[in-house]
Subunit: 298 residues, 2 copies
Amino acid sequence: MTLPTIRTVGMIGTGVIGASWTALFLAKGLKVIVTDPAPGADSKLRDYLLKYWPTIPNAEVTQDEYLNNYRFVKEIDTHLGDIDLIQENGPERLDFKRRLFAHLDANTPEHVVIASSSSGIPSSEFITECKKNPALEVVPHQGTGDVYVTAALQFYLRLVKDPVLVKKETPGFIANRLQAAVCAEAYSLVSRGVISAEDLDKTVTSGLGLRWALTGPIMTNTLGGGGDFNHFMDHLGPALKAWLDDMHRHEFDVDSRDVDVLKERVDEWTSQVNLKEVEKSRDKLLVSLIKSKTEGSA
Amino acid sequence: MTLPTIRTVGMIGTGVIGASWTALFLAKGLKVIVTDPAPGADSKLRDYLLKYWPTIPNAEVTQDEYLNNYRFVKEIDTHLGDIDLIQENGPERLDFKRRLFAHLDANTPEHVVIASSSSGIPSSEFITECKKNPALEVVPHQGTGDVYVTAALQFYLRLVKDPVLVKKETPGFIANRLQAAVCAEAYSLVSRGVISAEDLDKTVTSGLGLRWALTGPIMTNTLGGGGDFNHFMDHLGPALKAWLDDMHRHEFDVDSRDVDVLKERVDEWTSQVNLKEVEKSRDKLLVSLIKSKTEGSA
């Protein structure tokens, strides 16, 4: 079975994530049928779409088409026959998602891909939303047929640069876990007074982060081993083990009083920083960084 | 006591790290007295300096000055009186370093800063050298006077953008530990078949890495919490704990057979990649990324 090309998307929920998806889908020329039971959701979505139009890279339609290719409906059920993919962005509550998925499953044709925007967490705050270049992890559950996985990957490939396939469900998925690993060690070092919060961040932005923006940890290791990951592992394994052992001895405990020490030390720095300016400058640089990466790899 | 301005540097050892330092010091207008007992070290250094001259950003001297402001000497002892700072880049062997430091300590005037380029590891491979923007961690030992720490920080600030101060010695220092944290989780996910090596890297280069190139983990969290790290921690703490607990249950063991599985999975990807091209493109993008960051923050 090959699934039909996805042309019309059903969007359930238009919070930050649902609204971002809607903007992206519309900019890529898809039709979107949107629903959200929250009062005023319709006009909030329109405001969002208007606001973000100038920041969308590589839109494939005019602003008019972008704004006219969606329909906000009270009830999506009567439209399920017209939809090729459903992007669900409801609240992160198990009972809600269970009921919704059972309902969708019973009421959509077989070819419809049902995708959940679950972030694995009760909010989208951990991974700050990066509208310019959303990172996307496709996580099929055990019963998902390959044909749906392929269709989903192909579909998202049109929309974002690098969708990745998570082959086994795992708490937090991938990006959250990698971020948690760095953060836990960062929190330990700062709360133990080994380094200031500001200098901890500098270590990343002036070194590791620059590299990881261009090659991930595994390719970075491979290049570090002169093009040979095996050589790298054989050579660095013992040092790595020694550091990891020491890191375990000083593990940061999210439930301990160390959190208060950490908060204080972070505040010493961030209270003296113009955060709005930092954010503005970061967003600007992010766009130019993604642009130069796209050009560099073309 | 205020230390005199550092104008002349003594360079001991001219392997990759020592040669990089020499190039950087010379490009910034310092005089360098160099020594290395290895056969042919003198001409190797000259080749290195010639090769890297075109890639040095913001050189403050002409190429002629750059090439004429150093002297390669057989024996540094007779020059110790002319030197303001010694940058030691000898082999990472405790016995060697101990003897060298005792000797330098006994034979240099009090104002001389003695700095070791120890990377905390038996090679410089883990942190791939990044000549365009070396990350620098200043790690005083317990007995180092504040005046030397300040002098060192001020000196390196002229040379690299973001020297950081490590306040307590800790195995691996900072960057190595943060990198080890990410790598350990990455190795676990890939060896367990949760995600392919290629997709693991994509997760970083298309998301986390882009952000960490611009704001470090703590500022990223702070901005993610709407400008409030406390809010971020209170809100995300429980999810973070759940992920970290699961990560501990699946900890990667550097000494186990998992390493072989990992190597195989990495090889499946990297054997099909033109690594020379990847490295070339990475180096090129790195320069432009650092340039746009410098301009963006100016």
